[in-house]
Symmetry: C2
Subunit: 344 residues, 2 copies
C-alpha cells in the first residue's frame, strides 16, 4: 500500500518538476497541463514524454553519443519532439519521437483512423480530435544487436452530441538479424510479465496480433520476431487501459537494453554486415508498403515527413534473388520469420 | 519506299531467325508465335524481346560484365525473362525484365488495370486477358551517371461479347544525382524526335504526364528529370500505336548510352557518393509508395516478387533532415526536382 501510494504520488507529482527530466519542454504548454492535470490527455502526454526521456538516456549511456532534439510545430494544431542519434558508436540510427496533434477530422478520416472502422457522427461533418504517441525505431550497427521498435498512442474524438470516443494502441517488437533464442525469450517474457499484471489474455492475444500485423505479405515473412501489438483498446475503462499502457511503456528499457549490453562487443564479419543490410531492405519494404502509421502519415497534409521516415535505417541493400545457403545462420533466421514461434 | 520495304521485312522477318538474337527463347512457344505472326500480341512480344536484347548487349559492352538470365513461369499462365547484372564495373544494379502473362481477370481487377477505369463486362464475371511488357531500371555506380528507367507494355482484354479491348502504355525517364543540362537536353530531345514522328502533341503531353506520374508527393519533388510517360493509348489504331511504341523502344539506347559513355571516367568524391545514396533512398520511396506497377505486382497473387523489386537499387541511405547547403550542386539538383523544367 505504501509503495502504491508512492507510485501514485510519482505519477501525479508536480508537473513542473517532472518536466525537468524531459528531452524538451512538452508539446502542450506546462500551464495548460497543470490546469488539466486530471485529464487523460495530460496523463498520457506526461507518460510519452517520460518514456522518450527514459529511453533516450538509456541509449545515450550505452552509446556515448547524444540525441539531437528537434521541436516542431504543426500548423493545424500541436507538434512534436523528435530525438535522433545518427552514426553513433553503437547505433547507426536511433529515433525516438513524441507527437501531440489536434484539430478537426472529416468523418471519413475519423473512420479510417480507427482500425475497427466505427462510424462517428461529427458536427457539420467535423470531429475535433486529439492524437498523441511516442514511437521509436533503433537500428544498431552491430548485426548481432537487434533492431527494436515501439509505439504507444492515445486518441480522442468528440462527436456531435459531445460524447468523447477514446482508445489506446501500441506495441513493442524486435527485429534481429540473427536469431538468439535467449534474447527472444527474454524479450517476450518481459512483455508477458507486464501484460499478465493486467489481463491473462493480453500477452497471447497481442502476441498473435503482432505477428499478423508485421507480416510482409509479398515476402511471406514477418518483419521480425514480434512482441506485442494492440489497437482500439477501450475497456474495461480509461484508467485501467492507461495503467496497462504505462506498464508497457515502462518495459521498453528492460526489454531491450540487456540485449544491447549482451552483444555490445560481439565481433562480426563483412558477410554478417551484408545480411544485416539485406534485412534492413525488408524493414524498409514493410514500413513503406504496409505500415498503417506511415501510410496515414504520408497521406496527411501537414504531417512532418522527417519524423515519420525517421524509422527507416541509415543504409539498406537489395540483392536480386538473395537466398542464404541451407543450414546457415541466415537460413535459420528466415525459417523463424516464415513460421513465427512461441518464445515463452 | 525501298527503305520502308526493308524495314517491314525486318520487322516481320523470320521469327526463328530473330529469336536467335534474344537473351533467351521467348516466353511464348516459337511455333505459336509463327502461327500467330500477324497478331499484335506476337508483334509486341517480339518487340519487347528485341528491346531487352538490344539494351542488355549495349550495357554489357560498356560494363564488361554479363547479365544473369532467369526464365520463370507463372503458374496461372505465362512467364518472363529477367536479366540482371549486379555489382558490375559500371553498373551497381541493372535489371531488364520481360514478362508475358495471361489468364482471367475479375471485373474489379480489370477496371483497376486500366487507368481510366473503364467498366468491362466479363463472361460470368471473368475476363480473359493478356499483359506483356519490357521494363528496366539501371543504377550505375558513378554518381555522375544517371539512373534510367523505361517500360513499354501492351494489354488485351476480351469481353463477354467477344470484343477485344487493347491498349499500350510506357515511358522512359532519367534520374540524375547531379544535373547536367547537356545530358537533360540530349535525353529529352531524343525522346521528342521519336514522338514527333507520330504526333506533334505526344512529346508535350507525355512529358507533362511523366512529371506528374513520377512525383513523390510527401517530398514535394519529382523522382528525376522525367522524359515521357503514357498509358491507355488506343488511338488512332492498333498498328499506328504499335509503331509509336516501337519508335520509343528503339530510342532507349540512343537516349541513354551516350550519357553513360560521356561520364564513364568522371571522378567523384565520397560526398558525391553519399548524395547518390540519399537520392537512391528517394527512388525507393517512390517505387514502394506510389508506383502503380509495383503496387499492382505486390498485390497480385503469383507475381514474381524478385522481378518486381529488381528496380530497387543495390544500396540506399536515409539521413534524418538531410538538406544540402545553399548554392551547392546538390541544392541545384533539388531545385530542378521541385520545379520541373522544359529541356527542349
Amino acid at each position: 500500500a505504501e509503495e502504491k501510494k508512492k507510485k501514485d504520488y510519482e505519477d501525479e507529482g508536480d508537473i513542473v518538476e517532472r518536466c525537468k527530466d524531459f528531452m524538451s519542454v512538452p508539446v502542450t504548454d506546462i500551464k495548460v497541463l497543470q490546469e488539466r492535470k486530471q485529464e487523460m490527455s495530460t496523463k498520457m502526454e506526461m507518460l510519452i514524454m517520460e518514456t522518450q526521456a527514459e529511453f533516450c538516456k538509456a541509449l545515450q549511456e550505452v552509446d556515448g553519443g547524444t540525441f539531437k532534439v528537434d521541436r516542431w510545430d504543426r500548423k493545424e494544431g500541436g507538434g512534436g519532439i523528435s530525438c535522433v542519434m545518427q552514426d553513433g558508436k553503437v547505433f547507426e540510427k536511433a529515433g525516438v519521437n513524441v507527437s501531440v496533434v489536434f484539430g478537426n477530422l472529416t468523418e471519413e478520416a475519423a473512420k479510417q483512423m480507427r482500425s475497427r472502422g466505427k462510424v462517428l457522427k461529427g458536427k457539420d461533418g467535423k470531429l475535433p480530435f486529439c492524437a498523441m504517441g511516442v514511437s521509436s525505431v533503433i537500428h544498431p550497427k552491430n548485426p548481432h544487436i537487434p533492431t527494436v521498435h515501439f509505439n504507444y498512442r492515445y486518441f480522442e474524438i468528440e462527436e456531435a452530441d459531445g460524447t468523447k470516443q477514446w482508445w489506446f494502441g501500441g506495441g513493442t517488437d524486435l527485429t534481429p538479424v540473427y536469431i538468439d533464442k535467449e534474447d527472444a525469450h527474454h524479450f517476450h517474457k518481459t512483455l508477458k510479465e507486464a501484460c499478465d499484471q493486467h489481463h491473462p489474455q493480453y500477452y497471447p492475444d497481442f502476441k498473435k496480433w503482432c505477428d499478423r500485423y508485421f507480416f510482409v505479405r509479398h515476402r511471406g515473412e514477418t518483419r521480425g520476431i514480434g512482441g506485442i501489438f494492440f489497437d482500439d483498446l477501450d475497456s474495461p475503462n480509461q484508467e485501467q487501459v492507461f495503467k496497462f499502457v504505462k506498464s508497457c511503456a515502462r518495459t521498453v528499457v528492460p526489454c531491450y537494453l540487456p540485449i544491447v549490453y549482451k552483444h555490445l562487443s560481439d565481433s562480426f564479419t563483412a558477410e554478417e554486415k551484408d545480411w544485416q543490410q539485406v534485412r534492413r531492405g525488408r524493414y524498409v519494404e514493410f514500413n513503406l508498403v504496409y505500415d498503417r502509421g506511415v501510410k496515414f502519415g504520408l497521406a496527411t497534409p501537414g504531417s512532418r515527413i522527417e519524423s515519420i521516415l525517421m524509422s527507416l535505417p541509415l543504409t539498406a541493400r537489395w540483392e536480386y534473388m538473395h537466398e542464404p545457403p541451407k543450414g546457415s545462420r541466415e537460413a535459420e533466421m528466415l525459417e523463424v520469420l516464415r513460421n513465427p514461434k512461441e518464445w515463452v
